[in-house]
């Protein structure tokens, strides 16, 4: 590791009086002398205020600084954090959480139920204008929507401190996966006195008061964020690594170079180089399923888009004639999973429906596609032509060109790819100004509804404007079912039949991790990780 770079921080660390044991207290493994951890971030963190955070980088840092009711273990299951346990009322709408009495803020104050009440009221308050206010509404906390719309005061939010260590949350309707949503930074507690004393400046190093395993010591936008072990954290005895440094490197090649030079413990791999590098660095460079799907959406809105694409047979034909294996093996090359349905199979508890098309050979799919297109009346005498929008990116372009070729060769269809700068592309998509458009979605929590809710007619993100009352009903009913998975499977079936979207692949997360770093999960599709779980073994 970069010893000179760490001199200053190591000194600071020594002054905090913390020290690591020679063996990991949980596993008994022998530990390396140096327990610093440096990881790569694609972009700068946008905000370290849990109520204002929007990006993955924000969440990764905030999970080290602040702790919510529950954390996730390596497989995405809930483990107690500030909450020791919870009870649910008989009507499944009132949750009562018992909080850990020894939980403390980094200034020594105890973490109390009122800190959660304050944070949840603050995020829904229109005055803060948080982008994730909708998350509390998605959790169905009573009055969340009305408060964000300015119709009710924040004090009427369905969250209450019964006493310092008992938190009560009322939700509008039963929601089986409600506890799973509590690992999101939008639900983390906040230290009111700090925010009131410093205003927007409270997230600066020196001002920041969190209840997480680490405290913020440096934040240089575009360069790095440094965190050191918090002595007041309730489980500080089991926190091994410190300091944690998050380095911003916008260029994947630069990140990889610095990883090879030993400056980073964790990095990404430049796109297209996964096959070579995973062979050269076995065990270090890996690819695991991720909760994101890549798709082309079709504009089904009345009077908008391309009329030909409103014929379901055309959409089916287009989907069938995409050779997803070619795209994955020759373009993406990082073990992505071909998608014939929308929700990634790795979502916790989700049973991926078996799709007939998945078991066919590409030649068989092509035959079916040709027949369907002919049936819809398109062919040499009535050619089909439309445009497909994507945002400027080499990867999107390669995929678009490959699919353009497949459609041309198999079906004689003319698809014209059009690229736009990201903001323009998104604007056109939300405004319904497209025939077909590239889209990707990543789950917010580890449950299939985070994907399937998207295509309900009432979803604000349904840019396809797909509307099927049967689908809406399946998704609405799923909210109150003990086991909603059959409904999810049925909903996937409807999507496959109506084909408002053409799923192309499910993402994988590609990473390079130094072999002496342990404790990173490879089985958490949301890629949620906690610095406090990491350690470096002696080699």
């Amino acid at each position: 590791m970069k010893r000179r770079l760490l001199l200053g921080t190591a000194l600071g660390f020594a002054l905090t009086g913390a020290a690591w044991a020679d063996t990991n207290p949980r596993t008994g493994e022998e530990l390396a002398a140096e327990q610093d951890y440096t990881y790569w971030m694609l972009d700068s963190a946008k905000s370290l205020d849990p109520n204002l955070a929007t990006s993955v980088e924000d969440s990764d840092v905030i999970r080290s600084l602040v702790e919510g009711l529950y954390n996730e273990d390596a497989d995405g299951n809930l483990v107690p954090a500030v909450a020791l346990s919870h009870a649910v009322s008989d009507d499944l709408t009132t949750y009562t959480f018992t909080l850990r009495p020894e939980a403390k803020w980094s200034n020594g104050d105890p973490v109390v139920a009122g800190d959660f009440v304050y944070a949840w009221q603050r995020i829904t308050d229109p005055a803060l204008a948080s982008e994730y206010a909708w998350y509390i509404e998605l959790m169905q906390v009573v009055n969340a929507g009305a408060i964000t719309r300015g119709e009710k005061p924040a004090s009427e939010l369905g969250v209450k401190a019964i006493d310092d260590h008992t938190l009560e949350v009322k939700i509008e309707a039963p929601l089986p996966y409600f506890p799973k949503m509590l690992t999101h930074p939008s639900t983390f507690p906040l230290h009111k006195a700090t925010i009131e004393a410093h205003g927007a400046e409270w997230t600066k190093p020196g001002n920041y008061v969190g209840n997480g395993a680490y405290v913020l010591t440096e934040h240089l936008v575009g360069e790095k964020i440094v965190m050191e072990k918090s002595p007041t954290y309730w489980d500080a005895a089991n926190v091994i690594m410190s300091p944690i440094t998050a380095v911003t490197i916008n260029d994947e090649n630069a990140a990889w170079t610095r990883y090879v030079a030993g400056e980073l413990d964790r990095s990404t791999v430049p796109s297209g180089q996964f096959p070579r590098l995973s062979a050269e660095y076995p065990g270090e460079v890996t690819s695991t399923p991720s909760a994101c799907s890549y798709t082309y959406i079709i504009n089904l809105a009345e009077g908008k888009g391309n009329e030909a694409l409103k014929d379901v047979r055309v959409r089916q034909a287009l989907s069938l004639s995409i050779n997803r294996d070619v795209i994955i093996d020759n373009i993406l090359q990082a073990g992505q999973i071909p998608a014939y349905s929308w929700t990634p199979g790795a979502m916790n508890g989700f049973q991926m429906p078996s799709m007939d098309v998945a078991s066919l050979t590409q030649a068989e799919r092509d035959e079916k596609a040709k027949a369907l297109l002919a049936e819809a009346g398109y062919g040499a005498d009535k050619p089909l032509a439309f445009t497909m929008n994507y945002n400027t990116s080499e990867g999107h372009q390669k995929i678009a060109v490959a699919i353009q070729q497949m459609w041309k060769q198999t079906l004689g269809v003319d698809m014209t790819p059009q690229n736009f700068e990201w903001a323009v592309h998104t604007d056109k998509m939300h405004g319904g100004d497209f025939d077909m458009a590239r889209y990707a979605w990543c789950g917010d929590y580890n449950e299939a509804s985070t994907f399937l809710d998207l295509w309900t007619s009432y979803s604000g993100n349904n840019d396809s404007k797909y509307a099927n009352p049967e689908y809406d009903k399946l998704m609405k009913d799923a909210k109150t079912m003990a086991d909603p998975n059959p409904n999810y499977t049925a909903a996937e079936g409807l999507l496959a039949a109506d084909m408002p979207i053409i799923p192309i692949y499910h993402y994988t997360s590609v990473r390079a991790v130094k072999p002496d770093i342990k404790g990173l999960s490879s089985n958490n599709v949301l890629n949620t990780w906690y610095a406090k779980d990491l350690y470096r073994v002696a080699q």
Binding site: L5, L48, T148, V221, T248, N250, T257, V260
Partner: protein, 307 residues
Amino acid sequence: MLNFVLKRLAIAVPTLLILIILSYILMYAAPGGPFTREKALPPQVIANLQARYGFDEPLWKQVVIYVWNIVAHFDFGPSYIFKDRSVNDIIGQGFPVTLRYGIISFVVASVAGIGLGVVAAIRHNTLVDYFAVGVSIGAQVLPNFVLAPILVLTFTLWLGWLPGGGWEGGEWRYVVMPVLALATSYMASIARITRSSMLEVLTSNHIRTARAKGLPEAKVVIRHALKPALLPVLSYLGPAFVGMITGSVVVDMYFSTGGIGKAFVDSALSRDYAVMMGVTLLVGILYIVFNLLVDVLYAWIDPKIRY
């Protein structure tokens, strides 16, 4: 002279106002906005954001409020993307970084460029000249996004002399590669301008006179040829200086310096209007100041010029 400077400063005020108004209009004309998200935000959230940042006011009023906040409070507003930072904050952190590697780059590029150009001109049509021209053309055609990875491969991976990125408060080992990546192409331009201007001056009458009265060649070059030959270089150096101290997106992205250069591209792409305006104004003011400075220097170097 004083009159000239005052007049130029007076013109700067309307120039900046026009810059603000034009930038504002262009910003708003671009599709999308700071709250465009791949996951569309619910309408009430957008409404709250617009109210918080004053987008619900008419455009003219927004411009007036914006200018007033700058004039009265030196407040360039909050960033719409970096939610807990102000534009002053962002420029305050990033500008000292680019200022540092920019000034060093400027010195390196000027000294090396002028030196190379002068030597090439004096040794016109010799191997030295060909070498100097070769170096400057090579440096000119090598874009910094190619040079940066080559530098990292060489100095970080192969030789292991320098860290591959970061800034660490501007410690010298972190400054070397950003400076090389930034200075190289400027150095090449300066060398070419110096060389051709020097060649022209060396054939002029006053140089022939100087040589005729038997001055040593070194004195001819330094005292009589260099000063007039630097005039065209000077008009290039003004804008080049501003270009260097406001950084480079490639340098900031590749070397993770945390400089302001990246803010230009990022703020434009994410429609972070306030940051975009802030950096535009910063560059605008710097250009006005340094163009003025160049004009003043002109008069000082060339007695024929009077304002």
